[in-house]
Symmetry: C2
Subunit: 345 residues, 2 copies
DNA sequence: GTGAAAGCGCTAACAG
DNA sequence: CTGTTAGCGCTTTCAC
């Protein structure tokens, strides 16, 4: 299954095989009969060229080839990855490009099984990585692993790793404050069963502030997953059980969409009966009915930071492991009784 | 910037450098002073290991290493990629795994500039690829290119390439039929400015059927992009200009969300004044207010097909270039006057 | 027209 | 404790 094998089978030399396989038969004046033999042999052997060998062979000598991985979990929404990639590419084109060729590859792992990603621990795949959407298990693994390449984390912090966060604790606290200033006393939170570190911290910030403000523990409504239907189901169950919250904090966009549905279905009004605060990009929030008060997840700023950090680490600059928080941004909209303008209007 | 350079600078041999860089200093009993020297040299030279060389060196001999690329454009929603990846992994684990190691990498290109993706045309990156979300320019390029590896297309067909489609023409026609059977006579379509092949065909199917049914040309409402705010803006303009449609076909989910907003804003009711039919996965449709009648985009089935095709091509089976359509699925909901059940209820 | 040989960068086996 | 050597699979001279 190498050029040599084909060469042997076709009764020609490896270089002939290579030429044929790369369509250089005319320049190299390979005889039609040889071409035929090679092609036939390649097909019958199920030949697949070895990419690593090709890349090794063909790189402009004296040129650093840097491979960057963006690692994210299956279970999380992938839509943010393209933002990260974009930020990275921007950085790359800014960074001194001469003498270095960057390539970025995206890898998706199963939440909790980052360690099983092939070629990860042994540095056989990347020269550096941006890691995002991990869950506790992955974080534990990372905390003890000694990775042979630089890594920057997004949305979590682990001792020893540089990372960028979206001020999750402050976000949760601010959510509680907004609900309280809308006059809400019976708070609740809607979150998925499996929590990322960022979600956990949002919750803890929310709980702390809520207890301080209202003197009582908010209800915790747990969705089986991150989808709209999960949020719908969880909220429906909660209301059916007689849940009485008048202020709801929802940790992601999609969950909010589902929750809206269930709330309206039982005849409660947003924000009159239940005020809602969400978290998410600006994509959908303004278009929910009523428009959803929500925090920007700070993705854009985080991506910029993360890209800059990784590139400079790869350029040999010793970025001492540090953590960085991007500032909060909140959009107050009708779901908490505020009025808003809709993009595109 | 190679181990040799480091070796020279540190005054040791390449193998010593390699050992140190791979944390084998104990097994190999490298003296602390050498370790220091190597580390210092590596740092000062900004050494980054060459991944291709490592992979070439370390592969289990006699093992085919197959690299599969999933190529999608920046501008398109990436959320579907993880589905494709999932289907591919499933196939891979089913396929005879002995003797072959697969790795899948995701590449994102700028719509219209697929040809500029580094290592694409010269087969320096993949042994096979799944390509999706191309626009006309990419399709033209593909039509004339002679790629040195097998390719399967999703959501478009180009002569000479195997591909899987979601019956876009039939989808458009069916959308028109649904609107007509809901008693609508003044039809319109909301679509982005830049059309993929699939979108184009959906439109052409819709227009044909609509003209046949109503005898008049549907209005075409053009959004600058694929986002909710684009849909909102386009729809608002249309209504402001005095647009009078009573049946609307929207080619993607997010656009529908924006359109809903503008329609409700001017006081028109869905479906009473305007019935709406959309296209999209089942994620958001049921949770819009009112729930949106929409087609499944057939992604799941398409992904299964596409994964199977590519793997068998890579296994040497000559899948004669062919195109395949996955069947339509429609969910009738309140936005066309039907009643529906919501997942999670 | 074709084959032999060299070498991309890396690491492991083997000899000191 | 360390250096020399070989070879992963490929393509490109260069020589016949």
């Amino acid at each position: 299954m190498t050029v040599k094998d084909i060469a042997k089978k076709a009764g020609v030399s490896a270089s002939t095989v290579s030429a044929v396989l790369n369509n250089r038969q005319i320049e190299r004046r390979i005889s039609p009969s040889s071409v035929e033999k090679v092609l036939a042999a390649a097909r019958s052997l199920g030949y697949v060229p070895n990419i690593a060998a090709r890349r090794l062979r063909d790189q402009p000598s004296g040129n650093r080839q840097v491979v960057i991985g963006i690692l994210t979990s299956y279970e999380a929404p992938v839509r943010l990855v393209s933002q990260t990639l974009h930020a990275l590419e921007q950085r790359i084109s800014q960074a001194d490009p001469q003498g270095t060729t960057y390539s970025v590859i995206i890898e998706i792992f199963h939440a909790g099984r980052l360690r099983d990603l092939p070629g990860f621990i042994d540095g056989r795949r990347f020269n550096g990585a941006i890691i995002t959407n991990t869950v506790a298990e992955d974080d534990n693994f990372l905390a003890t692993a000694r990775l042979p390449f630089p890594v920057v984390l997004v949305g979590r912090s682990i001792p020893g790793y540089p990372g960028v966060n979206g001020s999750p604790q402050a976000l949760g606290a601010e959510a509680a404050r907004i609900l309280e200033s809308a006059g809400r006393q019976r708070l609740a939170v809607l979150c998925p069963r499996v929590l990322t570190q960022a979600t956990e911290r949002r919750l803890s910030g929310f709980f702390e502030a809520a207890i301080r403000q209202t003197g009582s523990l908010p209800d915790k409504i747990v969705s089986p997953n991150l989808s709209a239907s999960g949020g719908c189901e969880a909220m429906r169950e909660y209301l059916k059980r007689g849940g009485q919250c008048d202020g709801l904090f929802v940790v992601t966009d999609a969950l909010a969409l589902g929750a809206y549905h269930s709330i309206k279905r039982v005849g409660r009004r947003i924000p009159d009966d239940i005020a809602v605060v969400g978290v998410g990009d600006q994509e959908n929030g303004p278009f929910l009915d009523p428009p959803l008060t929500s925090f920007s997840s700070g993705q854009e700023a985080m991506n910029q930071q993360v890209a800059a950090m990784l590139i400079s680490m790869l350029s040999g600059e010793t970025v001492s492991p540090y953590s960085l928080d991007v500032p909060l941004e909140i959009r107050l909209r009708e779901s908490t009784g505020h009025s808003s303008r809709v993009p595109g209007e």
